[in-house]
């Protein structure tokens, strides 16, 4: 843990909207956080709360013409990524910030060999020759422990299992030694035993390369295993932020407590049956502007004030912020 280290990424009051026929969706509604060099920050929350959109906003990979960051800033390497032109942004993507996606089965190009796909990033960003880049691809495959890498480097994605494809994705993402790796639910699509292996691999390589990780997950178990700090998102907003130890010790937001109560007990090899859906009630629509706390309709502790007035993020102990009017009461209980 490197608390207090200079942040490499600093997201400030990010607002990202989707403009569809049915109106405007506020997918990310004023989120701020920082990532320090070499740390692992988790973003956790139920499906649909804006985690992926946050990641895509940082990478500027939102579906064009549909999603747009309309406010805030994403400072990285002394610049605001939201104001860079496309060519400058391209130089950062895959080189300084890399990303691993949720779906290993569809995230690799089926008609290019995995070697070509890894080597491509190396050729683009490091100007290496085809031959050197290929050697680097093979080296990366060895690094992510794909057996018989020298031969497998010429194979196509469909010749690999889901877990192996995710290893390829990680190899590709780390091939240029990025400062920041954004992993959007990297293990959600994999079964439990493979999940653990992949997480372990990511942490190990992160240490070697010295990258920071933004670990996006709906699974507090993953957070516990990999992160130093965590932010909890709900309805496009950050509702709580703390060190992992602090959060598990003293969760202050009722939503966080709900998430913790619903962590499924897992045995290796058991099918993933339950997701974090056990909090009664539904995620609010992000179409209408929310007045009051977005969690109030589902909150067991909600008062009249909660539905009327949105709680601001407030400090409750070192490095622990929470947006809840009742946080003081919860902290004591």
């Amino acid at each position: 843990m490197r608390a207090g280290a200079e942040p490499i990424l600093s997201v400030e009051d990010l607002h990202t909207h989707f403009f569809t026929q049915d109106g405007v969706t506020r997918a990310v509604d004023g989120v701020s956080f920082t990532v320090a060099a070499g740390e692992t920050l988790g973003i956790v929350g139920e499906s649909g709360c804006g985690k992926s959109v946050t990641a895509l906003s940082i990478m500027r990979l939102l579906p064009p013409g549909l999603g747009r960051s309309v406010g805030g800033s994403v400072r990285f390497g002394g610049r605001d990524l939201l104001t860079l032109d496309e060519a400058e942004m391209r130089r950062i993507r895959g080189d300084r910030i890399a990303m691993v996606f949720q779906e290993p089965m569809t995230s690799l190009n089926p008609v290019l060999t995995v070697g070509e796909q890894i080597a491509e990033a190396v050729m683009i960003h490091q100007g290496k020759s085809r031959h050197d880049a290929w050697a680097r691809a093979e080296e990366m495959l060895t690094l992510v422990r794909i057996p018989d890498a020298a031969r497998r480097v010429g194979d196509y994605p469909h010749q690999f299992s889901g877990g192996m494809r995710q290893r390829v994705m990680i190899a590709m993402a780390l091939s240029c030694h990025p400062q920041l790796l954004i992993a959007d639910e990297p293990t959600t699509a994999l079964d439990v035993t493979i999940q653990a292996q992949i997480l372990k691999l990511m942490l190990e390589l992160k240490g070697r390369i010295g990258a920071a990780i933004l670990m996006i997950t709906h699974d507090l178990g993953v957070v516990a295993e990999t992160c130093q700090r965590v932010i909890v998102m709900y309805a496009g907003r950050k509702v709580e932020e703390a060190s992992v130890l602090d959060l598990f010790d003293r969760p202050l937001h009722p939503y966080t407590r709900g998430l913790m109560a619903s962590i499924p007990r897992r045995r290796p090899g058991a099918p993933r049956t339950r997701r974090l859906q056990e909090i009664p009630g539904m995620v609010p629509s992000l179409r209408e502007p929310l007045s009051g706390c977005p969690f109030a309709p589902r909150c067991p502790l909600a008062t009249a004030r909660c539905t009327a007035e949105a709680p601001p993020l407030e400090q409750h102990g070192a490095g622990h912020v929470v947006a809840c009017w009742e946080a003081g009461r919860i902290g004591v209980s």
Partner: protein
């Protein structure tokens, strides 16, 4: 691989058999008597009967069919009723202009169409997209002879840039050969370009929405390699299919194009033969055209293996 090719070639036989039956029946059931046309006007019925006997037209239709198919199986397309020459040699003499026209048209059309389709997909929803698609609709709906005469009028008669009609063999130089092929190729290729451009655009739009395209972008890949290296390769199978199927359009168009531009090719041969009810030529040319069509589509099928590694295994 060789086994597959042989198996596929053999599977062409029943298809060609069906084509043979249809062509034969269609011609022999259609009105018109070649003997009467050969004999000319004011001849006695006896004379016509004699000519019919010479040509074998007095035999029952099934008998005529068996004789024809029998010689087909030995590779013999029969004799022209009018010229007496073998159909194979008549087609051979007329092959160069048709092959030249087909070759230049396909080469230019495929590249142009794929370029336009990719461009339209990359600019989906913009003016460029609408212009390309507008052109595609037009190219598909305006008949070949209209385009042909329009091109002749503008570029040959008014601007005098290119020859009006005719054909120059490639042996007399590549430049004059090409000059004569420019306008007919455009006229012939229009619908083909439109067809391929449309499928390219549609397929590309699907591919561009795939997860792996986002992965490529996240890696820092620039626009052009995104389109051509990552997306087009994935769109290749449906495009190749339409390139193959579209050959049917070209075959229909070649007959009209050769007439409009007065090109002495196989298309003209068959048009003249139809006027004379010269059955063996008509049948022979249709068999050859069908064979080409089936063969091209066989090649396209085989190309899938190279275009998509998932089909390979």
């Amino acid at each position: 691989m060789i086994g597959t090719i042989v198996r596929r070639l053999l599977s062409m036989l029943p298809v060609m058999g069906v084509v043979a039956v249809c062509v034969f029946l269609l011609l022999h059931l259609a009105p018109g008597d070649p003997a009467a046309i050969i004999a000319g006007e004011n001849v006695s019925p006896e004379n016509i009967a004699r000519i019919r006997a010479q040509l074998g037209l007095d035999q029952p239709v099934w008998r005529q069919f068996l004789v024809w198919v029998g010689s087909l199986l030995t590779g013999d397309l029969g004799q022209s009723m009018f010229w007496g020459d073998s159909v194979t040699s008549l087609i051979g003499q007329r092959a160069e202009p048709t092959i030249s026209l087909a070759f230049t048209t396909v080469m230019v059309a495929v590249f142009l169409a794929i370029g336009l389709g990719v461009l339209a997909a990359a600019c989906a929803g913009t003016l460029v997209d609408r212009l390309v698609m507008g052109f595609a609709v037009m190219g598909f709906s305006v008949p070949v002879f209209v385009v042909g005469y329009l091109l002749i009028f503008v570029f040959a008669i008014n601007l005098k840039w290119l020859p009006v009609q005719g054909y120059t063999p490639i042996s007399e130089g590549v430049a004059p050969w090409l000059r004569n092929l420019v306008l007919p190729s455009i006229a012939l290729g229009m619908a083909y370009v439109a067809l391929i451009a449309r499928i390219t655009r549609t397929t590309m739009l699907d591919v561009l929405a795939e997860d792996y395209m986002r992965t490529a972008k996240a890696k820092g890949v620039a626009m052009r390699p995104m389109l051509f290296r990552h997306a087009l390769k994935n769109a290749a199978v449906p495009i190749a299919t339409v390139v193959g199927n579209g050959v049917a359009l070209l075959i229909g168009g070649v007959v009209i194009t050769e007439t409009v531009f007065n090109i002495p090719g196989v298309g003209r041969l068959v048009v003249d033969a139809i006027a004379r009810r010269d059955y063996p030529i008509i049948q022979g040319v249709i068999m050859v055209f069908s064979g080409v069509y089936v063969l091209v589509n066989l090649l396209v099928d085989l190309s899938y293996t190279f275009l998509d590694p998932r089909i390979r295994d």
